[in-house]
């Protein structure tokens, strides 16, 4: 759908339209090439792979956030949920000395529960999505620390009850981020598969179309016979589960408990999702854009690090690049004039999302 509507922004084939559509991708390509020739160590397959690997967790969380952003609003609880699942994994394997498989199941259940509560709050209890997930963010972040009394669970440590933690992260669990399959880390495979799945779901299935319809105009979708609430609830539950998967990847990377894990994932996921708005001139959340956004961000970070820039210089540049990408895809639209009828009947979808408010702004001078 995104690629279908993109063309509407400007007269077909115009330069403006081209840039609106490919702006981000072009910047991305330019950056890749630049780093390839300037950043020491960047020009290698392993380096490119580790870009994807680095973004796998945040990217998966962002994919969940994308699903919610379409039908509701950004899910602010993904970071906390990822962190929770790191803690759950650590408790399962280190504190209770259970297998990696069990840990994975517990993590997924944790994500399912958080997502379910979000869905309950938003769909059944009618709390505005942004508020509900913000509340859950605080609660889950608190819960995750409370579970371990703010301690870092690591094998051999003395537990609050005085006993010693016997267990440790199992080999097969560590393998998730540690081992490769066909030359690619398993975590990268997971990211790729989930990304593909979400993309197919949104772009190629009728459920995906309905999902967008529900986001675009719940009333219309409902009158067309869509079970609006199921889609909204589904999105938040999926987001919770995806966040917990992101947490599993983080855990298998950290290989022990870490109370601060996941905290940084939230802003990354938000940035990734929002960059996705600008990809292919979609101006709405979309799977392809989110995936590109993840790689885009990862490339910038990796390249700048390998150029030896200080973290604060990186933040500066990261922000600049983000703004630049935005300018390319949103600011050029003005010249593309809408037909008057559009102006006459201008009106946003009931559930207009942040990224879309630009249209409304355009309506009024």
């Amino acid at each position: 759908m995104t690629d279908q509507t993109a063309t509407s922004a400007a007269p077909k084939g115009s330069v403006v339209d081209f840039i609106v559509k490919y702006g981000v991708l072009i910047v991305f390509a330019v950056l890749l090439v630049t780093f390839w020739f300037t950043a020491p160590g960047f020009a290698s397959g392993s380096s490119l792979i580790s870009i994807v690997q680095a973004q796998a967790a945040a990217g998966i969380a962002a994919l969940g956030m994308t699903l919610t952003a379409i039908v509701g609003d950004l899910d602010l609880s993904v970071g906390a949920t990822a962190g929770l699942s790191v803690t759950v994994a650590a408790m399962t394997m280190i504190q209770f000395n259970l297998t990696g498989g069990t840990a994975i199941i517990f993590c997924l259940i944790a994500g399912l529960i958080v997502g379910g509560i979000n869905a309950l709050l938003i769909v059944a209890l009618k709390i505005p999505p942004l508020l509900a997930t913000l509340g859950m963010m605080f609660t889950v972040a608190g819960l995750k620390r409370w579970l371990v009394q703010g301690q870092t669970l690591s094998s051999g440590m003395t537990l609050p009850d005085g006993t010693q933690a016997r267990g440790r992260f199992t080999e097969n669990f560590n393998a998730i981020d540690g081992s490769t399959f066909l030359g690619l880390p398993i975590s990268v495979w997971i990211f790729a598969i989930i990304g593909l799945a979400v993309w197919v779901f949104l772009q190629k299935t009728r459920f995906g179309r309905v999902h967008y319809a529900v986001g675009g105009n719940p009333e219309a979708a409902r009158l067309a016979g869509a079970r609006v609430n199921r889609y909204r609830a589904g999105a938040y539950i999926a987001s919770g589960v995806l966040a917990s998967i992101a947490g599993i990847i983080l855990a298998s990377r950290i290989r022990q408990g870490d109370i601060s894990a996941g905290d940084s994932s939230l802003l990354d996921a938000v940035a990734i999702t929002l960059i996705g708005f600008a990809v292919l001139g979609a101006k709405r959340p979309n799977a392809f854009g989110t995936i590109v956004g993840a790689l885009f961000l990862g490339t910038v970070l990796q390249g700048l690090t390998q150029l030896g820039l200080k973290y604060y210089t990186q933040d500066l540049i990261k922000g600049g690049v983000l703004l630049f990408a935005l300018l390319m895809s949103f600011s050029l639209r003005r010249r593309a004039r809408k037909p008057a009828a559009a102006a006459a009947a201008e009106e946003p979808p009931p559930d207009s999302r942040p990224g879309l408010s630009a249209d409304a702004a355009e309506g009024a001078r």
Partner: protein, 342 residues
Amino acid sequence: ESDSGGGSGSSPAAEAENDFTLPDAAPDGFKDGLRVAMVRQSGIGDYFEQWGNGATAQMEAAGVTVENYDARGDNAKQVQMLTDAINSEPDALIVGWGLADSVNPKIDEAIEKGIPVVVYDAAVTNSDALYLSQDDEAIATLILDELKTQNPDGGKIGYVNVSGIAPLDSRDKVYQQFLKDNPTFSEAAKFGKYTESVANDTAAEAVATFQANPDINIVFAAYDELAKGALIGLRQVGMADKVKMYGVDISTADIQLMTEPGSPWVATAATDPANVGKIVARAAIAAASGVDLPSKMTIPAALITQQMLLDNGVTNMDQLRAALPDLATPEYLGASWIPTSA
């Protein structure tokens, strides 16, 4: 010092060999174009900035290229950066802080690839790596002894610390023991908040706590960002004059706070982060040059009192180094063939 959240796992069995010295003559391995990758988990506060600057300055002085990776407190990112660093095949690898179980697999991987590793303040298990650390037990003991001598007849302690962060946890152990051994001292309250801005967020808690426990007359803060927060709290509730504060770590910023007129911060135990960074750097240079290093060394800490700062008119780190030679330790892992930086 800091957060970081170092590995609370069993720290190396090996005994510290602090009398180890480098060969007088430059080894053949010491040539131009050496590359050292420095991967820090790092954290919030000045300590890390000074530490990094010290290390970088020392290596550049010795003509070594530094590849700087800074995970800014994100453990997962640090692991990722270690992967990248190892891929770039440096002549030596510095690992600063980090969770034991997170970094150890990577350290082993590096050593298998023949990259010598110098670890600072992360519980490393591989005895082929050099484990350097400031001795947190020693630091805590140092400052608590001072606390005891300055308050012979005990007192009510406001304890500022957060759990889950290795160096702070090991200081906590010493503190808990101290409470057991000295019944005249009692803990009136414990607070401290670890967020993106520690000092400011701890301040809010400090205010609340001091209002709830006006009888507190001693404050012990486990690292300087926490100390700053407590200080703001004391100032705001107007208890600064009747409370003595003891902290850990030192920086120009800390010196200023300690020497402010009427500052309750009377003493701190610390190593000079820049100096520590330089030591780690020298170790890395030696390792890169093929010197065989021991598997554990610890860096001594010094006690810095408000009195001493005022007497010597110390206003910043440089002056402190001049006034307190123990802080700078050029001989520690130093050698004629390693040019030192200013």
